[in-house]
Symmetry: C2
């Protein structure tokens, strides 16, 4: 069944926006009475019937509602956007598929990109959410300088970094069922000042493997590692 | 230090091909005597000096040689290529970064792509190998029908599949320090015939998470899961 996005469905907004309405009526040729699924990006699924197949404003009536199960852990990524925007769009799509709670974009000493529009990234995330059968959209935070950013409290904090010292691998040091904050640097890595800044704030320096990963690969690999460690500790 | 690719370096071919030579001389403006690293994609690194900075055929003299450490496990992916080629190119890049030994492309009942040229994929893999500091290139096998393909012997075999039954997660059933063969289907999934075909041949049906992943995401997530499970069992 086709899935649509209406962020305010739980507050009684029971119609699709113009873009979603057009897709429903002009592309999928849905008719009044057809069954649809609506997700709100906040964790809720609505089984609904299309009421009015107006291509600018499709209304629907909600039949039933349920929620995406909450996990006993959460993943928050802070990452320096890459110079190439495609790589960030790709990363947001993949992180939405595998699951991430929030992405904070940060500006670092060696950053090659200091401006980032979230709108296109949100579109990628919405599409990936619908595609993967999720109802929860990652929260994307506007880019800000790393030095003025404050990590979430009560999280296990990691900074992914490669240098000549042999750091522990993330997979070896993570504890299951926690909230995690992972910091990933730009193409040129973190400056020594930034590493000190992070370790003073409780970030543990970790590696993600034996070889260099691109920024966007590192973001995905870190989140995937946290999921794997948590799933092997699941009781079922 | 800049890394170049010469697949026959170990057999005494001590010059770069035209494309690599042009890059060294015209883009990086390297001079005779400059230090370079050459990798052969077969696991060997050569520290070398540039001898003749001919932009069509850079010769080099090897100073020393060492090998990429072998892992106690290996990962072999068999996957149906996606309709969209960019997604396969992206996947080959990312799999090369995180590490995969071979990729067999297979044609499935619901495949949306039945023809695939390996040349562009190899270029992505070579670039990702150099970028990540690896010396080993994944082996890419020409596409063939799933029914005529034979999985590698002595491997732990998994087929990633989502249906109404609740399959075990790959992370829960994999044993460390083995060779693995993972089979990932096209956008439309595997047909019932294919699932039977695979289970009769010793493939265990597994899930990769609680939600649907795109084909290329599933290929990457499966390999990353195998790496994570193996790293947590490492002794150091």
């Amino acid at each position: 069944m086709t899935t649509f996005y209406q962020p305010n469905a739980a507050d009684g907004t029971h119609f699709l926006d113009e873009e979603e309405s057009r897709h429903a009526v002009k592309v999928l040729r849905l008719q009044s009475g057809n069954s649809i699924t609506v997700v709100d990006g906040k964790g809720n699924y609505f089984q609904a019937h299309l009421q009015d197949n107006n291509p600018k404003r499709c209304s629907f009536s909600v039949i039933s509602q349920h929620s995406q199960p909450l996990l006993p852990y959460s993943i928050h990524l802070a990452i320096a956007p890459t110079k190439n925007l495609d790589r960030m769009e790709w990363m947001v799509e993949k992180l939405t598929e595998v699951g991430v709670d929030s992405i904070q974009f940060v500006e670092c000493d060696y950053s090659e990109r200091r401006v980032l529009k979230l709108q296109r990234l949100y579109r990628k995330a919405i599409s990936a959410m619908k595609q993967s059968g999720r109802a929860l959209l990652p929260v994307l935070h506007e880019i800000r300088p790393l030095s003025s950013w404050k990590a979430l409290d009560n999280t296990q904090k990691f900074i992914a970094h490669i240098d000549d010292s042999h750091h522990q691998l993330l997979s070896k040091v993570v504890s299951p069922n926690k909230s995690y904050q992972v910091l990933v640097g730009p193409e040129g890595g973190f400056s020594p000042t930034e590493i000190s800044w992070a370790t003073e704030r409780g970030f543990q320096v970790v590696g993600l493997g034996d070889f260099r990963l691109r920024t966007e690969t590192a973001g995905l690999a870190a989140c995937q590692t946290l999921h794997v460690i948590n799933t092997i500790h699941r009781s079922e």
